[in-house]
Amino acid sequence: MKSIARREARNFLAFTGISLLGFAIFYVYPVIRTFYLSLTNTRVGVDAVDFLGFRNYEQILLKDPLFWHSMRQSFLFSFIAGPLSLLVALYAAMLLNRKVRFIGVFRTIFFLPFVIPTFAVASVFKGFLHPSSGIINQVLSYLGIQGPGWYMDSSSALATLILISSWGFGVSMLIFLAALQNVPASYYEVADLDGASAFQKFRYVTFPFISPVFFFNVVLATINGLKSFNLAFLMGRGLGFPANSTLLFPVYLFVTAFRMPYKLGYASALAWVFFLVIMALTGLNFLLSRYYVNEDVE
């Protein structure tokens, strides 16, 4: 008996050993090392390193306006972009859930933006929304409206990021479509017999069924939105252009760590603060989730 258990364990380790090693090198070591660096003023190319204790954290929380600014931009971005794009996705999914013709064509069209790489999205929208040569301001001018400066103007650049990222609602739409197709058709038939309006059917049949999926994905998208980097990095020329308006927190961290003067220590402290913020939100969501997840339906 014992020898079988030992052979099993030996085989297990032979197959999984590489991942245990990888986990130690690529996850455990970096997390610990980042914490250590956060207590120092380490920079690239500077050999002298001072141990600062928690002074980096003090600096971040008390004396770093860019930290608060970039956090604010990230929160604004994710708390609007997350729910907004999911509402669009839910609406699109409900339209597709009717037994309409060409559903496959519409589904493919709506999903297409998600396939386009972010750098291509950014380069297309730079032209598409260009204040003087773009399509949208041209269309607005037909209506007699002077279009905004979009990504070129610091007062509208963040809103522009939110709109562009909502363009990629296709994935969430597929998830909602799958959820909607689980609602038994008989419920709608009964509602029809009772003469329920479209809104009543949504309120009393559809919504209770899909609300767990919907809220779960909204929260997930909102928390993930805080990590959003690519679009802001590209639209903001890598530095929050114009006037730091697109300086989301991950972009600020990137610039601090990996551009002159390469403040790895300080950026490590930023990374830990960020991690704690995300953990706090995830924990909060865990506590609140029992209020919005409708147990009867599951």
Binding site: E8, A9, N11, F12, L13, A14, F15, T16, I18, S19, L20, F23, F26, Y27, P30, V31, T34, L37, Y91, L95, R98, V100, F106, T108, I109, L112, V115, P117, F119, A120, S123, V124, F125, K126, G127, F128, S132, S133, G134, I135, N137, Q138, W167, V171, S172, L174, I175, A178, D192, L193, G195, A198, N217, K227, F233, L264, S268, A271, F275, I278
Partner: protein, 296 residues
């Protein structure tokens, strides 16, 4: 059925018809919004420089197909090279992940080890970590190894089964394979590695395809990694090279003219492969990202 009931059923059917028309109108409007940027892209790629930077016109005076040739002829802009660079990174990552994650997942599913569930739970927990928490020490380490301006930092991790999500996909899939297949093979005297290679791998084609698509688009999309490690222009990936065209006339001032017609033509070149891959593997792709989307 009472007359009232019939009237109600009829009126509800009528309402459903109007509802259907409204749905079509809404679907078409949404499609236009979604497709308009694509229209801009294609039409701009055929315009002249003057047209592309002037007030927007819905059609160019003449369709300049030559823009596409012009993009390929920009001095110092080697499009095929950036494409091959990107594909090289993609292949190195894909091979690394496929080989190691499938072996490791096989180990997790096939063998008994008292703590294996705990180990896997710990593995899964890192999916929550923001990448920022991991990047700085690795950046430091890759500098010390002299790996700056090489592709190694971008793919080395995949050779240690560090893609926990793919590991999870393989493990879920392997769990569904009946153990009796292996008992039969064992009786026939097959060794452990042989069973993995002859039974498990051929069965896991859906995972291989899904991960292929996720990695293809993922590598295409990666901006963080190349921005960190790739410095020389001849080593650029596609995600970086678009900046070279955007800044073609950038002399350092804040307001410079972007040659939008060339940017558009280059962008068309770049998204064609992803769109082709998407349509070829649409079924797997949608399944894959739906799961990935739920996982985050």
């Amino acid at each position: 059925m009472s007359t009232q009931g019939i009237r109600m059923a009829v009126s509800s059917r009528g309402r459903r018809e109007t509802g259907r028309t409204t749905a079509y109108v809404a679907l078409v409007l949404m499609s236009i919004v979604v497709l308009l940027p694509f229209y801009y892209l294609v039409i701009t790629s055929f315009k002249s420089f003057e047209e592309a930077i002037a007030e927007f016109k819905w059609l160019p005076a003449t369709f300049r197909f030559s823009n596409y040739a012009e993009v390929l002829a920009i001095p110092g802009f080697d499009f095929p090279r950036y494409f091959l660079n990107t594909m090289y990174i993609f292949l190195m990552k894909y091979i690394g992940t496929m080989v190691t994650c499938s072996l490791v997942a096989y180990g997790f599913v096939r063998y008994h080890f008292r703590y294996k569930e705990l180990i896997f739970a710990i593995f899964m927990s890192v999916l929550m970590l923001p990448g920022e928490l991991l990047t700085i020490p690795l950046y430091e380490a890759f500098i010390n190894l002299g790996w700056m301006d090489t592709y190694r930092p971008l793919f080395i991790g995949t050779y240690f089964a560090t893609d926990i999500f793919t590991l999870f996909l393989f493990r879920q899939f392997f769990k569904s394979v009946p153990g009796s297949l292996f008992e039969a093979a064992r009786i026939d005297g097959a060794g452990e590695l042989r069973m993995y290679a002859r039974i498990m791998l051929p069965l896991s084609r859906p995972v291989l395809v899904t991960v292929f698509l996720l990695y293809f688009t993922g590598t295409y999309n990666d901006i963080y990694g190349p921005a960190l490690y790739i410095i020389s222009e001849e080593k650029y990936v596609l995600a970086q090279c678009i900046g070279l065209i955007e800044n073609l006339y950038n002399t350092g001032s804040q307001d410079f003219l972007t040659p939008f017609h060339l940017v558009a033509a280059a962008t068309v070149f770049m998204i064609l492969p992803v769109i082709a891959v998407f349509f070829a593997g649409q079924k797997y792709f949608i399944e894959g990202v739906s799961t990935a989307g739920i996982k985050g």
